[in-house]
């Protein structure tokens, strides 16, 4: 909730104190699961499928079983459990058939990593290769091989998802607003095009890792590098039919998540190995190659957009078809489809809209949540399309966007009304346009063009996102006062590098009126100790947990005041406090310290009242609704964070080589709790967005082997890949129901970087790019109107790129 505090009186919120856990990370003291060993611990390794689609004819374990030091081996036949966040379609180990390159087939636990690896090498799996379907646009055709022939019988959440049995469609989400045919009938122009982008990987610096100990009596402890301890526990117990009290999930420091660690991944398999090995703890850490193929990636997307525009430039109709490449398992992809669906038209007023969004199975490593939850992918198409529409009707792209932006009073695709508190997309767009001097080249830029022979172009893109989460998403905070008056805060939201720990310490210190050094927010998560939080995803943590935190502060203070009132013989309304004590407003000398109150107040004669001071706050998203399955109408959005990017690019017209001279980004965050940390998120996210734009993308051969499963050929931006100049503008239109007016910005900086670049390149040299990534060769081809390179499922020879199952 908004604290109506005058910004000039805020002592902590709005300032940039150092990160609470930075020292531990900077000294090597911070422990990550990858650093942990436990007594008696075994090491797990996995035999993975080299084929995209095959029947498992037989598995010969005989030589592996005999290897000294091997303590447990499991195959799919040993495990009768099905998992799935939304569509229950995945076995813990492949059963009977494999559905993607890199899929786990056999798991081994042994005394050492070397023995486990050797054992894996000694296992022989006999495969009968079956036809695979690799391209999602082929997978939707009637004659495509079925990745999940039994799809129709899988459990799901029918209120939300619609898997189509007998096809490769795991979900179809729809949105119907207004009357699409009438809308197109009004159009003076109709502009249609298709946009595509490949799968990419999150590339957390710490790969997925889990240690599980399954003790007698089903007492299970899971240590995992993950984002959502309660989801791990919940799905685990659901799968193994255990009460939640049997499983404890512990998450220490996490070396990056980006959505790839949002759900449940290796934990069930590792747990089964521990159980098979008589309860000894088992550790599995993915190699970087496994991170690229055994662990999930981000779905590829084909996005077809058809826009009708009136003579005055206002959009009157838009038909959108999205085809999401889920890979072999639905995981989060069905929800990405749904969440993108309602956001797919961007921050524009579209009176008549029609959207069909398909989640399509293919025989490839599967897609999971990834920062932006579909928005990075579809904004590529959307903002390139807005540019195309503007070009087609002869309007300046900035003017066209301004004309069609959502404004107070507009209705979104789902029928939600935008107000002046939703956020200021117009200001975001205008700020970045000014930041890059959009629309013309300065004298210096013109001189530079003349001197270098290179062309300078400027492009813009808008972005928006609301948290993709259930309408009943909830969280709680427990705040405990120690006997020295310091406060320890337990939250279920996980620190994955985004800085939640520090932001919460600031909010707590502010609301409590304490100095920051009296407030500690614990970093390690423990489902036995911490209160429930849904998941650390969706850019909702600051808002929901921040609110719960403020309520917890108020609860703690209320409890303290109650006891203080008795001790001071005053009513709570007569009391005030500072960082040390509670005192009578009109008689400051009459006071009692927090230390005295912390674990119970004791009178001089020994009588005691009160007890340990604990504050509890809980917050659930207010007023959200499900989406109507047929029309997609409803109120799914906790809040909308708007933003925009402006890019100045310099392109070599002879070669297609290009370089970013400047990127200017703006986001309406409501209130920057810690401006330096917000800047860090913004730049970090923008660079990750640049990676998607410039150099990331999975490449498969025609048999579905992943050709770039390592950093040799799957590149991410380095320090040398920064634009020359980076400007980050924070806009603060308060979120009325956000803590101190804040709303989230964790995912947003990544969104729309790619189309801003695509638009800038078009402005520079006229190259029309509709496919990602944008490499020099792609620009060169587009400039020359040459055939684009098929980079996803390539027909070209592999040369020295090897498919390596490590």
């Amino acid at each position: 909730m908004l604290e109506h505090s005058d910004p000039s009186t805020l002592k902590h919120v709005g300032h940039s104190p150092e990160r609470q856990e930075a020292q531990a990370k900077l000294t090597g003291d911070a422990v990550y699961v990858s650093d942990m060993t436990l007594p008696g611990m075994l090491y797990a390794q996995i035999k993975k499928s080299p084929h995209a689609s095959a029947i498992i004819r037989g598995i010969d374990l005989s030589r592996a079983e005999k290897l000294p030091g091997v303590r447990a081996i499991l195959t799919g036949a040993d495990l009768d459990y099905r998992l799935g966040l939304y569509v229950v379609d995945k076995d813990i180990l492949a059963k009977g058939k494999v559905r993607h390159y890199g899929e786990a087939v056999v798991a081994v636990a042994a005394d050492t990593l070397a023995i486990a690896r050797q054992a894996v090498e000694l296992i022989e799996v006999d495969y009968e290769i079956t036809p695979a379907v690799l391209n999602h646009m082929d997978a939707v055709k009637a004659d495509a091989p079925l990745v999940h022939p039994d799809l129709g019988s899988y459990a799901t959440i029918p209120e939300v998802f619609s898997p189509q049995g007998g096809t490769n469609i795991a979900n179809l989400s729809k949105c119907r607003k207004g009357d699409i045919d009438k809308g197109f009938a009004e159009a003076a122009w109709i502009v249609e095009r298709e946009y595509t982008n490949p799968s990419v990987q999150h590339v957390p610096m710490e790969t997925h890792v889990a240690i599980v100990e399954w003790k007698t009596g089903d007492d299970i402890t899971i240590w995992t590098s993950a984002q959502s301890p309660f989801t791990v526990r919940g799905l685990f117990c659901y799968t193994f039919k255990l009460p939640l009290t049997k499983v404890r999930v512990i998450i220490p420091h996490v070396g990056g998540g980006f959505g790839g660690k949002a759900g449940i991944h290796m934990e069930p398999l590792v747990a089964c190995l521990s159980r098979k090995a008589g309860g000894r703890p088992v550790k599995f850490q993915a190699t970087r190659e496994e991170e690229f193929s055994l662990l999930p990636c981000r779905s590829a997307l084909t996005y077809k957009i058809k826009t009708g525009v009136r003579a005055d430039g206002r959009i009157c109709a838009q038909k959108m078809e999205m085809y999401w490449d889920a890979g072999a398992y639905a995981d989060y992809a069905v929800n990405v489809t749904r969440a993108s669906g309602y956001s797919a038209a961007g921050p524009y007023e579209i009176p008549n809209a029609w959207l069909d969004a398909y989640t399509v199975y293919t025989n490839k490593p599967y897609g999971t949540a990834y920062r932006g939850f579909g928005h990075v992918e579809f904004f590529w198409g959307l903002e390139r399309h807005m540019e195309l529409v503007a070009q087609t009707i002869g309007m300046d792209p900035l003017e066209f966007r301004r004309l069609n932006l959502l404004r107070p009073g507009s209705l979104t695709l789902t029928g939600e009304k935008i107000t002046e508190h939703t956020g200021n997309i117009r200001k975001c767009l205008d700020s970045v346009a000014a930041g890059i001097g959009y629309g013309e080249l300065t004298a210096a830029e013109l001189t530079r063009e003349r001197q270098t022979g290179l062309k300078i172009g400027k492009g813009l893109a808008t972005l928006h996102k609301a948290p993709a989460m259930p309408p009943f998403t909830a969280t709680a905070v427990i705040m405990k006062m120690n006997s020295d008056g310091t406060v320890l805060v337990n939250v279920g939201l996980t620190e994955i590098g985004q800085g939640s720990t520090t932001a919460f310490a600031q909010i707590a210190a502010e609301r409590l009126g304490f100095p920051m050094d009296k407030v500690t927010v614990t970093v390690e998560k423990d489902t036995d100790r911490d209160p429930y939080d849904w998941q650390t995803v969706a850019s909702k943590g600051l808002m929901l947990t921040g609110n719960a935190l403020i309520l917890a502060c108020e609860d703690l203070l209320r409890n303290a005041y109650e006891v203080a009132g008795q001790a001071l013989r005053a009513q709570p309304c007569d009391l005030e406090h500072d960082g040390e004590r509670i005192y009578i407003k009109h008689n400051h000398d009459k006071s009692v310290s927090f230390t005295q109150l912390s674990v119970g107040y004791c009178y001089p004669d020994g009588n005691a009242i009160g007890g340990p001071l604990i504050g509890v706050g809980r917050y659930v998203a207010q007023g959200l609704t499900n989406l109507d399955k047929a029309t997609g109408q409803g109120l799914p959005a906790l809040d909308w964070t708007y933003g925009a990017h402006g890019i100045i690019v310099e392109v070599n017209p002879a070669s297609g080589e290009f370089h970013l001279l400047k990127i200017c980004s703006a986001y309406d965050v409501g209130k920057a709790i810690n401006p330096d940390m917000v800047r860090g998120q913004c730049i970090g996210g923008m660079i990750q967005g640049l990676g998607t734009a410039l150099c990331e993308g999975y490449i498969y051969d025609q048999q579905g082997h992943l050709l770039n499963p390592s950093f040799t050929d799957n590149k991410i931006p380095t320090a040398r890949d920064l634009p020359d100049e980076i400007e980050c503008i924070i806009i603060e239109t308060p979120q009325l129901d956000g803590p101190f007016g804040a709303r989230g910005v964790g995912e947003h900086p990544m969104i729309a970087v790619a189309p801003a670049l695509g638009n800038a390149i078009r402005n520079a040299v006229g190259a029309e790019l509709t496919h990602m990534p944008i490499r020099a060769e792609d620009v060169w081809r587009a400039m020359g109107r040459k055939e684009p390179v098929e980079t996803w499922i390539t027909r070209t020879p592999t040369g020295s790129c090897r498919s390596v199952l490590l």
């Binding site: 490449i699 060169w780 020879p797």
Partner: protein, 272 residues
Amino acid sequence: MIYNFKYLAPGTRGELHAMLADRGPAAALLSGGTDLLVNIRNGVVRPECVINVKKVKGFEGITWSAEEGLIIRAGCTINDLLRDARVRADYPLLAACAHDLASYQIRNRATVVGNVANASPCSDMAAALLCLKARAVISSSRGEREVAFPAFFKGVKKTVILPDEILERIIVPASSAGAPGDYRKLKRISGHDLAIVGVALLKQDGEIRLGISSAAPTPVYVGGLKTSDPADLVVAAALEAVHPISDVRCTREYREHMIQVYVRRLLEEVQG
């Protein structure tokens, strides 16, 4: 590393030669380790033993003499080369190629000799050494022999080095000193990457010499060109000498295009 191998660290040439004579094909030579250890990890090679050459007396560093020129020994890392004042002053092409090789940490370990002996078609150092008329000095228990660089490479990751031999040092002749030159390397990012295609160009005494990487099974040398030749001729000679492939990194067409672009750029930018 999963594979168990024997680790040997000979202290003298004699010991090293004896080990190679004894184990030859089952041994792998370890200088920088930045290619070998990755290959062992990835299961590409499974040597029975790994011989560390960095402790061999006489294999350290880099020296220069007016008669011979630059002597780059087996233990000389890429960064050792870059730090050498003579290299920086008189062999700018060598410095340019070295500078673009991988990352700083890799350059602290990777050796010039190792990079060249690995004989990747993408080798950055090979491009320079071809232009500079460098010679490889290969030794074994049977003695020493010299091979000029174009003849050194036989195919993808194949050289003339026999199983019982070691590339002990590289001689970059004094006659190549002072020749201006530069290297252009196409990468997928501005950060460290292997060469998608690389062109080294050297001008000396009215001659133009080219070294092209990632455009054939081996790094390619193009000679017989003069500074007075028109750019189109130089470009044609370069394209004639290479046969790039299409792979997942780049198409043949774009490799050819960028060879042209780089040759023209270098012709203009390299003085001489």
